[in-house]
């Protein structure tokens, strides 16, 4: 486990702030440009979900290191309404906001590890990691 930093998502511009911070961390970790774009885009989707559905939340970044490799872990947490049907939000094209419905299944494809926990009325926590190849 390494250093941790975070961006509080309260207004729209914080989405940009979150992805800029994520990109900087990814760059410093040695990710290539394609992986940087993947990570930055994933962060953007997660931050936007918080802004859109919960109104407020946090995107945290953690540098994770194991014996074989290192990576960036992104934690997106909110105390919003939660998600009733997790399998539904992981379907491509599902949306309640008129968007493209690419968000969460897209994030899962862009990153290496993906985990989602959600409780109705309590909030949602998404943990996702990308490893340097």
């Amino acid at each position: 486990m390494g250093s941790q930093s975070y961006v509080t998502i309260m207004k729209e511009w914080d989405i940009v702030a979150a992805r800029q911070m994520g990109r900087d961390i990814a760059k410093n970790l040695g990710f290539g440009t394609v992986d940087q774009a993947r990570i930055t885009t994933a962060i953007s989707e997660l931050a936007r979900n918080i802004h859109l559905y919960a109104g407020e939340g946090k995107v945290c970044f953690e540098i994770v290191e194991s014996l074989e490799h290192k990576g960036i872990r992104v934690l997106a947490t909110d105390n919003g309404p939660g998600i009733r049907d997790l399998s539904q939000v992981m379907e491509d094209g599902f949306t309640t906001s008129g968007g493209l419905g690419a968000g969460l299944p897209g994030v899962k494809r862009l990153m290496d590890d993906f985990d989602i926990e959600s409780e109705v009325g309590k909030g949602t926590k998404i943990t996702t990691t990308k490893w340097v190849r």
Binding site: W13, T33, V34, A37, R48, L100, R109
Partner: protein, 118 residues
């Protein structure tokens, strides 16, 4: 933050050089449509060479602006999409299938010439 829109004969040229936040993207959509209306432009090139992130929201705004301009009678070509951005968009599940694209500004203008027969 507003994205400058340049007029060149019957065309409008836009080079997006800033980090696109949602508000800037929506504002750009409105600005472009009113510029098409005001200048009676027949073709538009939106150059994305300097854009290193296109997420699902920005992709939707760009796709929409192409359809909206089409409704008004102006043809839009997106140019200069970076390799990393193209890979990320497809992995994200966004195909932008009905959006005309070209490698760079030069080829984008050529495409407009051909399609508009000017």
């Amino acid at each position: 933050m507003r994205i400058p829109i340049l007029k060149l004969h019957n065309y409008l040229l836009i080079s997006i050089q800033t980090e696109l936040d949602d508000q800037t993207a929506i504002q750009f959509q409105e600005d472009l449509l009113s510029e098409i209306h005001r200048t009676e432009a027949t073709g538009v090139v939106i150059d994305l060479t300097s854009v290193d992130v296109i997420d699902s929201f920005i992709a939707k705004v760009l796709g929409d602006v192409v359809s909206m301009s089409d409704l008004m009678g102006a043809k839009v070509v997106l140019t200069g999409i970076q390799p990393a951005v193209a890979m990320t968009l497809i992995e994200l599940g966004i195909h932008l299938q009905n959006v005309p694209t070209a490698l760079d500004l030069e080829q984008g203008l050529m495409k407009l010439h051909q399609e508009l027969g000017e």
